[in-house]
């Protein structure tokens, strides 16, 4: 008869006293947001230039081989171009995927694991890519000559 007594199952209040997980203020998200935009604008130029040269000029994909790459990187402009593209795209993309992980991975553990994977991938790819561009030898000594760019034999 009476409410709230043991005889009657009590309903828990469905109104949750709500607490935000934790506050994390600071300019990190702000800078990353700006970076996404700034890098985006630069990437438009870099990527479209890259795609144009690689896929559109001459024979397109079919033209791509070791000699082609070597030929390109022999020119410092393309070296810097690709290096910049590598870095910007990787930071931009990694940061984008980080956002996506934050959105969809709800448990802290999942978030942690996914982000570690992401950052590892980032480091590996950026390091490898950078090394390749910097240490690249367009005319490796033991390579069959027909695979090399024409200027190696010159």
């Amino acid at each position: 008869m009476a409410y709230g007594t043991a005889a009657v199952a009590k309903v828990d209040s469905p109104r949750s006293p709500y607490v935000r997980r934790k506050t994390t203020r600071g300019n990190y998200e702000l800078y990353s947001w700006i970076f996404m935009r700034a890098s985006g604008v630069v990437l438009v130029v870099l990527i479209f230039g890259h795609l144009f040269v690689n896929l559109m000029v001459g024979e397109g994909v079919h033209a791509i081989d070791f000699a082609f790459v070597a030929g390109k990187w022999a020119n410092p402009l393309w070296g810097v171009w690709d290096l910049l593209m590598l870095w910007l795209a990787m930071i931009h993309g990694t940061n984008g995927v980080r956002t996506i992980i934050n959105d969809y991975a709800q448990r802290d553990l999942t978030r942690g694991v996914l982000k570690s994977l992401l950052y590892t991938a980032f480091v590996v790819v950026v390091v490898v890519g950078t090394l390749v561009i910097f240490t690249f030898d367009p005319c490796p000594p033991n390579a069959p000559e027909e695979l090399l760019a024409s200027f190696c034999t010159a």
Binding site: P14, S16, R20, T24, R25, E29, L30, D103
Partner: protein, 257 residues
């Protein structure tokens, strides 16, 4: 003019009594832990007779009053000014009291669901606490220093117009619960909180803008907005929500540099 006004002013002269009554079916997503369905939500369908000027809220009332008294939803003013009855109608957030049945294609069943991203308490009623908590966090009140003037503070008509749009908010949560980012983990402050921060940040009388910007600079603050515009489309008061968010973002950037 607002989200619910897509098909208005079409039936010129279709005033009271002219539009004949018609049959309409509502498919309502229900949830009642006390019922035999337990923690499962389920669908119920009701067919009722409606009139030309009936709104979805009228249909819900008809169901509650004539068919199934246990159907539960919030409502008060019944004309779109109190913000009680934001629900999802045919997949979009709207106020039930501002959506005419004839404007949502009554030939097919009209699907009514609770708004997304907030815990459902019963049927169409959700727990609004998380929503109001975010609202309270952005310090939604005038902050001033110094002595109070004896009369009013002076504010030019232009300064007053600067934040007019965001003063219209009725805290209905249609925007926040339409935001794909809010759905993911409910941690995002959400557009409504930002709209209400905007209302003060751009009020020339207020001196708390820095603090509010600082709060919204949070990881869960404005930067989580991905400009999906669901909020703007959902707002029953026609507030340009995304624009307000954009203005707050820009204010933050100006402040940081």
């Amino acid at each position: 003019m607002t989200a619910t006004l897509e098909n208005t002013a079409t039936e010129a002269g279709a005033a009271v009594g002219v539009v004949p009554s018609f049959e309409v079916t509502l498919r309502v997503r229900r949830f009642n832990p006390e019922s035999t369905h337990g923690e499962e939500s389920y669908w119920d369908e009701y067919t009722i007779t409606a009139h030309g000027t009936d709104r979805v809220l009228d249909a819900l009332h008809k169901i509650k009053w004539e068919h199934d008294g246990s159907l539960t939803f919030r409502r008060s003013c019944a004309h779109g000014v109190c913000g009680s009855d934001a629900v999802r109608i045919n997949g979009r957030n709207r106020l039930a009291c501002k959506t005419l049945l004839k404007d949502v294609n009554p030939d097919k069943p009209i699907v009514v669901e609770p708004i997304k991203g907030l815990p459902v308490v019963k049927d169409l009623v959700v727990d609004m606490e998380p929503f109001f908590a975010s609202y309270r966090e952005i310090m939604p009140f005038l902050i001033t220093t110094g002595n109070e003037p004896t009369k009013e503070r002076i504010q030019s008509a232009e300064d007053r117009a600067r934040f007019d749009d965001t003063t219209k908010c009725i805290l209905c949560a249609a925007c926040t619960s339409s935001c794909p980012v809010f759905w993911t983990d409910g941690q995002y402050f959400g557009p409504a909180a930002i709209v209400n921060a905007h209302r003060f940040i751009f009020d020339s009388r207020d001196e708390g803008a820095q603090q509010r910007l600082e709060i919204l600079n949070d990881k869960e603050g404005v930067w989580r907005c991905r400009t999906t515009f669901n909020c703007t489309e959902a707002c029953p008061r026609g507030i340009e929500v995304t624009k307000a968010i954009q203005e707050v973002k820009r204010a933050m950037i100006t402040r940081a540099f």
